[in-house]
């Protein structure tokens, strides 16, 4: 970053003239102005997210201890019930509350702008919280045992659908706040030039959120009416539109996560944007090609023909895959170039060896990129192929995939961001600092074991969302290969490691935010307990950065250019991708002929 960091003191508070008497403080570390009507909204959403993370994690531990057949902890009723609780708490409440914090942060703090509609921010927050609590109450009370997807004609109490609708309306209102903030910031000239890439990524997430929430309204409102007996809902149409919500919302996560990647890269090691055109175009691809992302959930459904399936999964989805493959290059390459610009130019990988691996923001970033790409991305694209889905649909390969994307990817990135939000927004030191340095490795390592073991178990046909694969109460035995028992034990082991990481994260966040030491005085260039390295050692570029950049881009460096290490890494990625993809076709070819 080019903004010189200053020694930190208590917040400076300055008057703000236009529009209101609202005030700003200037961030001591980044020099950005932080609005007093934005900051509490960011805090409330982030804290609420973390509370739901805690609920979801408790459920997760009970679930993995049930699927580990040697333990088989919960009763069938509570297994299915908590499966719904886990998914709603994590995938909807934790992630979306955190994204609301990110959207408020990106549209105000990153632009030094004000929150133009604080009342609406709070009303939206109240709606979302009310909806979330209603949903939780109905699920815990056993009045909505329909799992996360609530496929019609499984029926929950109307209150459940109403809760989801309230939550969605709240989330939609935040998108309005976000866009209005962008407009107001532009009008009030709080920044020069275009919005930063991170804000652009957040805007992408927000646009996709609107698309997603419209699908949500289009399915949950009729379903609510259906649950009251007022109209009919076709089960196949439900599946199609519900996944327009269910999967597109994952694309909000991806866009928000990639924005956080760029942000963490900048904060931790001074990662630069290689080329604005490429990165921004990739974000646009997410918007343009996500609309029918529900298609790959319906590949082995009876309602739709092969042409529809092929077009909607491939043409539309692979352009979104292209976007992710572009970010998968530009994010690490930007990190590499950022490090090289700061002098780590030796060999292919000095930039990685000398990186701040003890900064939880940085380790979270790298682990998020690697597990998201290598496990989540590769499995996702492969299993979302029309024919390959025959050997995947509703097996454990599916949760194996999406835990690698949404947990090791998005949640890991959001955790990394939190290690910076705590000092920068909450102005507290990160508590349990030694644990914090360890936490990303524990969380990502656990999720890696979990996702890979699940994927392997799924290869044997082990179903997802299933209480008892010993089939002890079924009329016929299903003798799975004994290795499946071992794999499910590994699922439990990985799950418990990751859950431990999540509990540590929650403890750190709660302790720091509510009982933490204020950031106070610290000296630049000195490692300080509770402050990530990107704050104590700001990755400032030298004044001659443009000249260094030009040298690294010189034609004499050839095709490898400014980021040769990244080029090696992406080709390793491509090789693994191709191997996995074609192995699956090979396995498929051994099956019965089906058509």
């Amino acid at each position: 970053m080019t903004t010189p960091a200053r020694r930190s003191t208590a917040a400076d508070v300055g008057a703000y003239t236009p529009a209101s008497q609202s005030t700003f403080r200037t961030c001591a570390v980044t020099g950005r102005r932080i609005h007093d009507r934005a900051e509490p909204v960011i805090k409330a959403n982030a804290v609420t997210a973390i509370v739901f993370l805690l609920v979801g994690t408790i459920a997760a531990v009970l679930l993995v201890l049930t699927r580990w057949q040697a333990v088989h902890l919960l009763s069938a009723v509570w297994y299915y019930r908590l499966l719904g609780v886990h998914a709603m708490s994590m995938l909807i409440f934790f992630i979306i509350f955190f994204e609301m914090a990110v959207l408020h942060f990106a549209s105000t703090v990153l632009l030094s702008a004000r929150n133009s509609m604080p009342k609406l921010s709070w009303a939206a927050y109240a709606l979302m919280l009310g909806g979330a609590l209603l949903v939780e109450a109905m699920m815990w009370g056993g009045r909505a045992d329909v799992l996360f997807t609530s496929y019609v004609p499984l029926r929950a109490t109307p209150w459940y659908y109403l809760g989801v609708i309230l939550f969605a309306v709240g989330a939609l209102a935040v998108q309005w706040v976000f866009f209005r903030n962008l407009v107001v910031a532009k009008r009030e000239k709080t920044y020069e030039g275009s919005v930063p890439l991170v804000v652009y990524g957040a805007a992408t997430a927000s646009i996709i959120a609107v698309i997603t929430l419209v699908h949500g309204a289009a399915i949950y409102i009729p379903t609510f009416l259906w649950s009251l007996g007022l109209m009919k809902v076709d089960p196949e149409v439900y599946r199609m539109i519900w996944w327009g919500l269910g999967h597109s919302s994952q694309q909000i996560n991806v866009a928000a996560m990639v924005a956080v990647w760029y942000m963490l890269g900048a904060l931790t090691i001074g990662a630069v944007v290689l080329n604005e055109k490429i990165s921004r175009s990739a974000f646009v691809l997410y918007i343009l090609f996500i609309s029918m992302a529900s298609a790959h959930h319906l590949l082995v459904d009876p309602g739709l023909g092969p042409a529809w399936k092929v077009v909607n999964t491939s043409y539309f989805m692979y352009m979104a895959v292209l976007a992710s493959m572009i970010h998968g290059f530009t994010v690490p390459a930007g990190m590499e170039l950022g490090m090289r610009l700061r002098g780590y130019t030796n060999g292919m990988f000095e930039w990685l060896r000398k990186a701040p691996w003890g900064d939880p923001g940085f380790s979270s970033l790298v682990l998020s990129v690697v597990v998201f790409g290598f496990v989540g991305g590769i499995t996702g694209v492969t299993i979302g192929t029309e024919q390959i889905n025959i050997i995947v649909h509703n097996t454990l390969r599916v949760p194996g995939h999406f835990h690698a994307t949404v947990v090791s990817g998005t949640a890991m990135a959001f955790m990394g961001a939190t290690y910076y939000l705590i000092p920068l927004i909450f102005q507290k030191r990160v508590a349990f600092w030694k644990l914090a340095k360890l936490q990303p490795y524990l969380f990502a390592g656990g999720m890696f074991i979990f996702t890979v073991s699940m994927t392997f178990a799924g290869n044997f046909g082990v179903p997802r969302r299933h209480w008892d694969i010993t089939f002890s109460q079924a009329p016929y035995s299903v003798p799975f290969n004994p290795i499946v028992d071992l794999l499910l034990a590994f699922v439990a082991l990985g799950g418990i490691l990751a859950a431990t990481g999540a509990f540590i994260f929650v403890a750190i966040a709660v302790k720091s935010v509510f009982f933490g030491t204020p950031v106070g005085e610290f000296t630049l260039g000195v490692e300080t307990v509770g402050l990530p390295r990107g704050i104590t050692h700001p990755p400032v570029h030298a004044p001659d950065v443009d000249q260094r950049n030009a040298e690294l881009h010189a034609a004499s460096r050839g095709i490898m250019g400014p980021a040769p290490g990244t080029i090696v890494l992406v080709f390793v990625f491509l090789a693994v991708f191709a191997l996995y993809f074609f192995s699956n076709w090979k396995i498929l070819s051994f099956l019965w002929r089906i058509g």
Partner: protein, 192 residues
């Protein structure tokens, strides 16, 4: 101080639509090419491959599908197992399998190497057809008849698990498919 080189947290000034370095362009090209390979594999497999989820798809009233299944059972029933009829249709026949909470009805007896049109539908909620141990999976949706042409390539005693949550007895829902070897000699005369 403003520099041309900047992070994702800083506003680019002026026109940022600038040519990318060759390395970036090459990667975008390769990634695009790979996406086209991913795409091409699907139509290619429809043309050359043996496993496609296309089938015959039409809407059906759940009660009508159930009645058709019962008629099919009556026509080709050869035995019983634990209260479920065992049904042995001739090669080439339309085969009907109804999913309901928490049962697959009936038990099917098929012949290796013969082709059947396997109709799947549900009487109540969504179910998941998962053929064990070969791991073949299809979604079974009430109101829709999914007619898949199948040709077993191995004999054996197969199971059908339900892999879509269908209620509290979901994990007890297991059906059975028996695949016999083709008769050794299918010539005229002699007892079969």
């Amino acid at each position: 101080m403003h520099t041309e080189t900047h992070t994702g947290l800083e506003s680019p000034r002026g026109n940022w639509w600038k040519p990318a370095h060759k390395a970036e362009k090459v990667w975008v090209g390769i990634a695009f090419g790979w996406c086209m390979v991913l795409f091409a594999m699907m139509p290619l497999w429809h043309w050359k491959g043996g496993q496609n989820p296309s089938g015959i798809r039409r809407r059906v009233e759940p009660s009508a599908f159930y009645a058709r299944t019962e008629e099919f059972i009556k026509q080709y029933k050869v035995g019983d197992d634990r209260g479920l009829p065992i049904v042995q249709p001739p090669p080439g026949a339309d085969v009907y399998l109804t999913a309901m909470a928490f049962q697959w009805r009936p038990i099917l007896k098929l012949q290796k190497g013969a082709q059947y049109t396997l109709h799947l539908s549900s009487l109540d909620v969504n179910h998941g057809f998962s053929l064990f141990p070969i791991n073949v999976n299809f979604q079974v949706v009430p109101g829709y008849d999914y007619g898949l042409r199948v040709r077993p390539n191995a004999s054996g005693d197969f199971r059908i698990m339900c892999n879509e949550f269908c209620g509290i007895g979901h994990h007890t829902m297991v059906g059975r498919v028996i695949v016999d070897d083709a008769p050794a000699v299918a010539t005229t005369g002699g007892a079969r």
